[in-house]
Amino acid sequence: MVPLSHYLIFSAVLFTIGVLGVLVRRNAIVVFMSIEIMLNAVNISLIGFDRYFDQSDGQIFSFMVMCVAAAEVSVGLAIIISLFRNKPTVNLDEFNILKG
């Protein structure tokens, strides 16, 4: 049996890697992938707790997280495509027209 703390530490490590990717990378697509890593990290801890308490709620939550991730990715990638039409780059530092 794997103790709950192992799941939580694994989840924390993956989440930190995701945050690192969002903060350090400037390529919009890689930033998106880092967000996916963070969402997956949360799913691990949800399922770890679920098993610890022998319930189904955490699995429903991670099911909903997957739904939101799918919606987020489809809309986000559409936004990246339409941004790319205006300015042929995916560098996040160059998209600053909303900055006053």
């Binding site: 049996m1 794997v2 103790p3 709950l4 192992h6 799941y7 939580l8 530490i9 694994f10 924390a12 490590v13 993956l14 930190t16 890697i17 690192l20 990717g21 350090v24 990378r25 400037r26 390529n27 697509i29 890689v30 998106f32 992938m33 880092s34 996916e36 997956n40 799913n43 691990i44 399922i47 770890g48 679920d50 610890y52 022998d54 189904s56 709620d57 699995q59 429903i60 991670s62 099911f63 909903m64 939101v68 991730a69 799918a70 919606a71 990715v73 489809s74 809309v75 990638l77 559409a78 990246i80 495509i81 339409s82 042929p88 780059t89 995916v90 560098n91 996040l92 530092d93 160059e94």
Partner: protein, 168 residues
């Protein structure tokens, strides 16, 4: 015994996640991310959450990553690399961010190891099966389930509208 299976899969996932963040080429990053998703599906199956493991493979490794691949190949990013490298080349800033995050991670791990969790117990065979998760999904969580369908419809319409060439 089970730790012998858990640790290699977890290490593989962490390594692949690092590879996603550190790779210069977005295609390689996407490949590593697919590997990480599959590893996580392994972890879920190992935790006896079979339904979630299958969903992880179908939704994440299947649908979402295929979409990523399509977009990466649709946008020709070759000439773009020099521009966005400029800030990523700032090693000092990246290093400082990494040190800060490792500090935060150390604190989180400290809190987790201090906490007193019961020793893990065996769960019944029904845990994580489609039957049991589906029962919860269609009784206690039927409203979020219906709202999720509206969310997905909105996302579908939104993606079509945003990616369309010109609105007439």
């Amino acid at each position: 015994m089970e730790l012998l299976i858990f640790y290699p899969i977890a290490l593989m996932c962490v390594g692949l996640a690092l590879a996603v963040v550190l790779n210069k080429n977005p295609i390689n990053s996407a490949m590593c991310l697919i590997g990480m998703m599959l590893g996580l599906a392994g972890i879920f199956a190992f935790t006896q959450a079979h339904f979630l493991a299958i969903l992880q493979i179908i939704i994440y490794a299947g649908a979402i990553m295929v979409l990523f691949m399509f977009v990466i190949m649709l946008l020709n990013l070759k000439e773009d690399a020099d521009h966005w490298m400029a800030r990523e080349k700032n090693k000092l800033l990246s290093g400082l961010t990494a040190v800060l995050l490792v500090g935060a991670l150390y604190k989180i791990i400290d809190v987790i190891t201090e906490a007193k969790f019961k020793a893990p117990t065996a769960v019944p065979d029904s845990f994580g099966t489609v039957a049991r998760v589906g029962e919860a999904l269609f009784t206690d969580f039927v409203l979020p389930f219906e709202i999720a369908s509206v969310l997905l419809l909105a996302a579908m319409v939104g993606a079509v509208v945003l990616a369309k060439n010109k609105l007439d």
